[in-house]
Amino acid sequence: MAMKYAYHPGNVAHSNALEVADTMPFAAESLGIELIPLDAATSCGAGILRQANEELQITLNARTLAIAESMGLDIITSCATTAGTLHEDLNNLRNDKQLLSKVNDILQRHCGLTLKCEINVHHLLHVIVDEIGLEKLADAVKNPFGFKIAGYYGPNIQQDGACGGDDIFDPDYLEQVISVLGGEPVQWSSKTQSVGVPGLFSEDKTVMKQTASVLSDAKSEGAQLVVSACNLSHMLLDVYQGKAGKVSGKKTKVPVIHLTEFLAFAFGHYIDRCAQLRTRVLVIGD
């Protein structure tokens, strides 16, 4: 029987990370996950909205949470930023009854919703390891990878209570998944470091150095491919890697894909894209 989750696509899957929108449904299908779309969900705020109005962000996220709760489902997302932000706001509401009461009053009047805080938020990675299990994951693999692969978590899901059964500071769930999918996981110290997404537009020089630091660390440890568990960080690690290299003077060019692409390719979906990726890694290289 399929596991049902309400699916939050994150902040950029609808826009410049369409490959995530393409591959998530296929990855989920092979994993036995039924995704119920949350068409009314808003952006999680990504750490930006709260800088304008924290209660507004919490209320909008409470609306998203309440919608999923009314469907009787937990939320799943493939974006570490969204998972971390929703988890943080849910936690704030659970621990502050006054705030919850105020937010519910607004939700009731504008949306007819009430959040009971009985819902949970999960990142796809934690559902795979904690709920589905690595044995079932192995059963679904059709095109194992044979590369040295660096798994990037970012800091948002590596928070207390937000990373399932994984270690906050020294996680290895991605490495376990990479191994099962046939890759050779790279041990590197920058896997939970921030690339500075919230500062991309305002502190671009620092952000480029942060991005370069992560990419060059992965490369120096021999990674041929980086797999990101965060949609937003993925965008920076991929699109901005050339600029990051120029700003920092470091070697940054390495193929970066999202976890959902990695899973979908290994499960035998989009074999043309998978072949193209292999060509990039093995023939084109940097």
Binding site: H14, N16, I48, L56, I106, P155, Q159, D160
Partner: protein, 656 residues
């Protein structure tokens, strides 16, 4: 167009009155022994001036104006040479602030707790005679200084240290001593130091007079001589001949004696502290004593020794190495078998004393804030974490990876240069500038009042184990050396919330926070928030500071526009519109920069990397490159029931 916006949050307003300075220092002076490290001058240059040989007090300074800063400098002085007097120190403490009272109450409670803890397990051992007698035979002074150091440390073990010069000591007196430690150097070709010759000669003919004495010997010498540590060996033998019981094996120290003598002392002193009033060695209390000496009272509180002492664990310690002379970096790994309750600091000390004397790290008390390192990704004080708590076994045995704090330049191995933080701190002018306030009379003196909740909050929000660790918790700090960092942002924000400061000072602080190197330089608070309770509290402070800084700037500039238009785009469709952000925040120059740096090209040619179709939407045919590759959408479809989002916005924030 942004200047007329209202600030999101008004600054915290004063909630009470305060007229008495927290620390009324009346006199300050410098004792002998200053090492001219500049630490005090960095903290309060108005008071301290470091010259070639020593630090001096600036002429004409009124210490009462700088009370808190002087005390902070004195507490931070590595050699404890800053002395000061506080008004009314011998009188009733009627003028303490609520925060101080709370702090002292906690300290007293902790002392009581520790005392009662000791009473639970070690109480009987701690009663009666607790003297430890430390004898030195010294030619150049090394053994003497070590003896003095150990005598000071004795109190950590519930002992009273007595240092004895061997010269002129009557050997018969030693017979009444239950606990004896000996530090003796070797002079020339195996000769006894001058001050030890007579006592040694007397000891050789004394007979078995030490049947109720436990002892251990620390021998100092130079391995380039044939008779290495000979005098210490002779004392070790003669003590045994006199009938004393060797409680811990002798250590023979070479010219670099600090680490081995320290390692010997910590165990020898622990053991000798377990000799009770009757002269019996209570071996079963050794682990409790080690915990007691390290400041860990948790086991004793529980009254269960077994809960502290843990069995040995096999652990592979991988430690970052950097040689500043050659510029080489790398890592060394050691397979160790150590008690699980050992701290990471004890692991480092053990490795240094037994494996590699060149291993460099900042040593100090367990809670020394300058000793911070990164262990398995955690930022910790190594004296405060146990191996069993932090080692991780991922199928190939327990592993511990120790690295220096990333925010600082590495001097050697794990030792980092902390001066960058001190310089940043100085640049923020962190001192307290009080405002004029009214007072009220209570019991004949002028008293200030403060809401106890505010006082506690002010006190606790900057009361962290290590500000250096907090500074290193930001992933932006290593890449922007001008950024003052989360510890200083937190400090400044806390100060701006202090109801006692002047309005002028509060305005200056907000301007400082709004500076390019202030809170706006933080790129991602998530990296700070994940650092436990401390990180969570500080990330909340930083968020408040950031909101205040953005409001101060009227949401102008890239930082303000980013936040503003991000929020606006969510109201417009429920989703983020990156095109709006690129256009409004970056502007033409930013877009040109992206075009020239290859960002735009990588977006347009994104389809070559993802394998997706080149064209995403029809707009690509009308206004390319929109809709091609990974170029973001120009227009978002609205989320379902978008009117609810608009309605919530309208109620909660009419600015958008």
């Amino acid at each position: 167009m942004f200047n007329n916006r209202n600030p999101v949050d008004s600054l915290v307003q004063p909630v009470g009155l305060w007229v008495i300075p927290m620390s009324a220092v009346t006199k300050v002076w410098i004792d002998e022994g200053c090492i001219t490290c500049d630490a005090c001058e960095n903290i309060v240059p108005e008071v301290f001036q470091v010259e070639d040989e020593t630090c001096v007090i600036v002429d004409g300074v009124n210490p009462s104006e700088w009370g808190d800063d002087i005390i902070e400098a004195a507490e931070g002085c590595p050699v404890d040479v800053i002395m000061y007097e506080v008004a009314g120190a011998d009188e009733e403490p009627a003028e303490e602030s609520p925060a101080e009272v709370i702090e002292e109450a906690v300290a007293v409670a902790e002392e009581v707790s520790t005392a009662s803890a000791g009473a639970g397990v070690l109480a009987e051992l701690m009663s009666g005679d607790r003297d430890v007698h430390i004898f030195f035979g010294s030619q150049s002074g090394n053994a003497e200084s070590l003896s003095a150091k150990w005598a000071k440390k004795a109190s950590d073990y519930g002992l009273v240290g007595h240092v004895h010069d061997m010269d002129g000591f009557d050997i018969a007196t030693m017979s009444g001593m239950k606990r004896v430690l000996i530090a003796c150097s070797t002079w020339g070709e195996g000769d006894m130091p001058d001050n030890a010759e007579a006592l040694y000669a007397a000891a050789k003919g004394a007979g078995k007079i030490l049947s109720n004495t436990h002892f251990s010997v620390c021998a100092l010498g130079d391995s380039s001589y044939e008779f290495f540590c000979e005098s210490g060996k002779e004392w070790d033998q003669v003590m045994e001949e006199m009938g004393a019981s060797r409680i811990h094996e002798r250590v023979d120290c070479d010219v670099d004696y600090d680490a081995p003598s320290e390692a010997w002392m910590s165990i020898a002193m622990s053991k000798i502290a377990c000799v009770d009033d009757s002269g019996t060695f209570q071996e079963d209390l050794l682990e409790a004593m080690i915990s007691h000496a390290s400041g860990d009272s948790s086991a004793a509180v529980a009254g269960d020794v077994a809960s502290v002492a843990e069995p040995e664990i096999q652990v592979t310690a991988t430690i970052f190495r950097y040689d500043s002379m050659t510029g080489e970096t790398g890592a060394d790994a050691w397979a160790c078998s150590l008690p699980g309750h050992y701290s990471v600091l004890q692991l480092l000390r053990t490795l240094k004393s037994t494996q590699d004397g060149s291993l460099t790290f900042r040593d100090g008390a367990n809670n020394d804030p300058t000793t911070g390192v990164c262990v398995n990704g955690r930022l910790v004080l190594p004296g405060m974490v146990r191996l069993s708590d932090i080692a991780r076994d991922k199928g190939n045995g327990a592993q511990i990876r120790i690295e220096p704090l990333a925010a600082f330049d590495v001097i050697r191995d794990l030792a980092v240069d902390l001066s960058s933080y001190d310089k940043l701190r100085m640049s923020t002018k962190p001192w307290f500038v009080g405002g004029e306030r009214e007072g009220s009379y209570a019991s004949g003196v002028v008293m200030g009042t403060m809401d106890p909740v505010v006082a506690t909050e002010l006190h606790s929000s900057t009361n962290f184990e290590s500000h250096y660790i907090l500074h290193a918790s930001s992933d932006a700090v290593p890449h922007n050396q001008s950024y003052i960092g989360p510890a200083l942002v937190n400090h400044l924000w806390n100060r701006s919330c202090d109801p006692r400061i002047s309005d002028k000072s509060r305005t200056a602080i907000i301007e400082s926070l709004s500076d390019v190197n202030g809170v706006k330089a933080e790129t991602d608070m998530a990296s700070i928030r994940r650092q436990g309770t401390m990180g969570l509290a500080v990330s909340k402070s930083i968020l408040q500071a950031k909101k205040a800084a953005l409001a101060h700037d009227g949401y102008n500039g890239r930082h303000g526009k980013h936040v503003w238009w991000y929020t606006w785009s969510i109201k417009s469709s429920g989703k983020v519109n990156e095109t709006t952000l690129y256009r409004t925040v970056l502007g033409p120059m930013g877009l040109a920069s992206n075009a020239l740096s290859g960002v735009s090209a990588r977006m347009i040619f994104g389809f070559t990397r993802t394998g997706r179709p080149m064209i995403n939407e029809l707009l690509a045919l009308v206004a390319p490159p929109a809709g091609i590759g990974k170029m973001p959408k120009q227009f978002n479809s609205k989320v379902e029931n978008h009117h609810e989002v608009v309605s919530i916005f309208n109620e909660m924030d009419g600015r958008f």
